[in-house]
Symmetry: C2
Subunit: 228 residues, 2 copies
């Protein structure tokens, strides 16, 4: 059975953006797995991976870290399951998509919701998380909270190419979800786990698509502790 290391907050909230990419990839591939929750400050728990970040998976003797590398590993190791990339061109374009999300979407989502996300951190992680916020945004939770509506506006604008695409097809992968769907999904999933404030209006095509992903794999992603 595959083991997945991921972050945990108060009340057992499983909020890690990047681990959600791996969770959804594992479900997509119809692979069984168990979760190993770790704190952000407990680097010793994942030292065996050679890195300092989750997700990490262990599949028998094989340890893989980094959500992109895990997706590549799963696609290659389990070709019999539904494809994550739909071939080499799909995989190459997914890498672009991954980069776009990580550079154009994640930083704005973090800036918008870090002020709420700190409130659900385990007490042992709060100091560390505050320093992370300062490092990545140059602001404090209080100053970011004041900016929140404006940051959400920027975030919604940055999402424009994805919104326009999802007006024309059900999933980023077309008529079926692919790994790109899980990449963008992970950001909104993080959002609903760490904050009661929603980013998108209900009639936004992105919100409609998000609900579609929540319903996949027997409503798997919906069934985690979240605010909405």
């Amino acid at each position: 059975m595959i083991e997945l290391w991921e972050l945990v907050g108060q009340s057992d909230r499983r909020y890690s953006t990047f681990s959600w990419r791996t969770r959804m990839a594992l479900r997509h591939k119809q692979l069984a797995f168990t979760e190993q929750p770790v704190l952000q400050t407990d680097k010793a728990a994942i030292a065996f991976s050679g890195g300092r970040t989750v997700p990490v998976i262990r599949d028998s003797e094989t340890v893989v870290r980094d959500s992109w590398q895990i997706a590549e590993y799963l696609e290659q190791t389990y070709p019999q399951g539904p494809s994550l990339f739909g071939g080499s061109t799909g995989k190459a374009l997914c890498l672009f998509f991954n980069t776009w999300v990580d550079r154009s979407v994640v930083p704005l989502a973090f800036r918008g919701l870090a002020c709420d996300a700190i409130l659900i951190q385990d007490p042992a992680d709060q100091e560390h998380f505050r320093a992370t916020i300062e490092k990545f945004t140059g602001g404090s939770p209080d100053s970011l909270k004041l900016e929140q509506p404006k940051t959400f506006e920027r975030l919604r604008a940055a999402l424009d190419p994805a919104r326009a695409t999802l007006k024309r097809q059900q999933f980023l992968g077309g008529s079926e979800p692919c790994y790109a769907d899980y990449i963008l999904f992970s950001v909104f999933q993080w959002a609903r786990i760490v904050s009661p404030v929603s980013i998108l209006p209900a009639d936004d095509p992105l919100q409609v698509w998000f609900e579609r992903i929540l319903a996949l794999h027997d409503g798997y992603a919906r069934n985690t502790l979240a605010f909405y």
Copy 2:
């Protein structure tokens, strides 16, 4: 033989961004075609297409307009040639990429180079092009020229996800070019046809990739009248 309608400027410059996507798609598919140059103001020449923009292609009895729809048509009609999308997932992700380029890259490139592009327009098109500039940028060629270095800076920053991706693979399509490569290529190809000012430094991974596309299909895209 397929016919392609595209724009023409002074000295027979074939500068249309969107027609370059079609040109490269046709070459990729190893299809022979002839070009029909038209002026921007000569809407009558393409009225048969039902639209007011190039590219338009006529393939025997079939007329198709809009670069994306033409790519879809070619892929479907000529499955025996090299694939433009590499399957349905690749096509779906290409649609996202097309949207990203058209919304995040094209407007900045136009803002940056419209002031030079007006100089190579056919005299009959200059008034029309000036109005287009005003409409899309809110500025005049002179005011845009003053902003040019700053606009290029914004453009280079907007291109960051593509640059980071091309540090990791030869083409956006992976080890081989796909239609996504031609989509982004078309912007830089337009740039080198309409202006002597280059946007990217020679060692930018995007410039290295651009040269790689110029060399494809026996240097096809290089052999058009351009400034560099």
